[in-house]
């Protein structure tokens, strides 16, 4: 809602608008909505208008005023004449004190208490300290790093064959001609020997 319609809504109801104003309103909203916001805009300012702070609040605040020095309180700068007169008074006082001191003269010094020229002796003190300086030692060390290298199946085949013997014979493997396994003789074919075993004394 633009400012123009807002102003219209506060002043006139939709029925009171002239044709141009009605057209402007209808470009933005319906006539019902216009009358509705008119009621709201008229009612809102007077809502709770009768609410007043308690009188004691004013008094409480005024009592706090002299008790609290404002944090950023600054004095008004002194006028020029005041500053100049302060400088003059300070200069006059300095001159008076100087004149009085000059007039007083040097103090009487008795010969037996006359100051003696101060003698300065320079001693050389030798001291041996033990200093521990941290020293950085560089040592060589060997670090073993292992890493897994991934290869393609074709590239890995010869490496794998060289490392492990084939578990299963391939087609082109030649058959080994091992000698025929010798078997023993049955006791049934040698009665003497059988008798030796079964003979009971």
């Amino acid at each position: 809602m633009n400012d123009y319609i807002e102003q219209l809504a506060v002043q006139k109801s939709f029925a009171e608008l002239n044709p141009d104003e009605r057209a402007a309103v209808l470009r933005e909203m319906t006539s019902e909505y216009y009358d509705q916001i008119r009621v709201i805009l008229l009612a809102a300012p007077v809502l709770d208008k009768d609410q007043e702070p308690p009188l004691a609040l004013r008094q409480r605040l005024l009592e706090r005023l002299p008790a609290r020095a404002p944090a950023g309180f600054r004095q008004k700068p002194a006028p020029l004449w005041a500053a100049l007169s302060m400088v003059l008074v300070a200069a006059l006082l300095s001159a008076l004190v100087t004149a009085w001191l000059l007039q007083k003269g040097p103090a009487n010094i008795r010969p037996d208490t006359a100051p003696v020229a101060a003698a300065f002796r320079v001693d050389t003190l030798l001291r041996v300290d033990t200093l521990y300086l941290p020293r950085i030692e560089w040592r060589e060390r060997i670090v073993w790093r292992e890493r897994v290298v991934y290869r393609t199946a074709e590239a890995a085949q010869p490496v794998a064959e060289s490392m492990f013997p084939p578990l299963f014979p391939s087609a082109d493997t030649t058959r080994l001609n091992l000698p025929e396994q010798r078997t023993g003789t049955s006791l049934a074919n040698q009665p003497e020997l059988m008798e030796f075993f079964i003979k009971v004394d």
Binding site: Q36, I40, P45, L47, L57, L65, A69
Partner: protein
């Protein structure tokens, strides 16, 4: 002479009174309070869910700030805008402190369909429902609505107070008005 001084204070601008408050001028503070005390109290009352005790506390806190830190006021700015900025920040803190559950839209007490409305708007009922509708607004929309339609500040002033572009203020006002109107649909004239 006293009368003349009083007259000077009454006709002095807010900014001049603030300059005098820097020198702890009690009359200047009293004049500022008389100009803005009730207004700020009502602002807090409207913003803080019509809690009179809270409105009083916040008004006191606001004016104590004037007493304690008058040097924070920039004389090149409008005093009114600065005062509302302080007040808006106090409200913002209060809204942050308030748990979201407390800010929920209150459940309707009655079924609106069954409410009999005479042709003449029932002013009291309307005002109650308008208050409820305003309470249902979020902090930023309520700030805009209260400052514009209840405190009668200009959009430019609200933008300065809330530190946002004027377009944002207008958009928030539009949204706030739409939401309030939606809540008061049954009061269509």
């Amino acid at each position: 002479m006293f009368k003349s001084n009083r007259h000077t204070i009454q006709s002095a601008s807010d900014e001049t009174l603030m300059q005098r408050l820097l020198r702890r001028d009690e009359q200047a503070f009293a004049a500022l309070y008389d100009r803005y005390g009730a207004r700020m109290y009502r602002y807090f009352y409207r913003m803080l869910w019509r809690d009179a005790a809270k409105a009083e506390d916040f008004t006191q806190e606001l004016f104590l700030k004037l007493i304690e830190k008058p040097h924070l006021f920039d004389p090149s700015r409008s005093f009114r805008t600065w005062l509302y900025t302080l007040a808006a920040n106090l409200c913002k803190n209060e809204y942050r402190r308030k748990s979201p559950a407390d800010l929920d839209w209150p459940a309707p007490a009655t079924d609106w369909q069954s409410v009999y409305l005479p042709e003449q708007l029932d002013r009291e009922l309307f005002e109650t429902k308008l208050r409820e509708a305003l309470d249902g607004l979020g902090e930023i929309h309520k700030q805009c609505f209260v400052l514009r339609y209840q405190e009668a500040l200009s959009v430019a002033e609200i933008a300065a107070i809330l530190d946002c572009p004027e377009g944002t203020v207008k958009s928030r006002l539009h949204h706030a008005l739409q939401k309030v109107a939606g809540q008061l649909e049954y009061f269509k004239a």
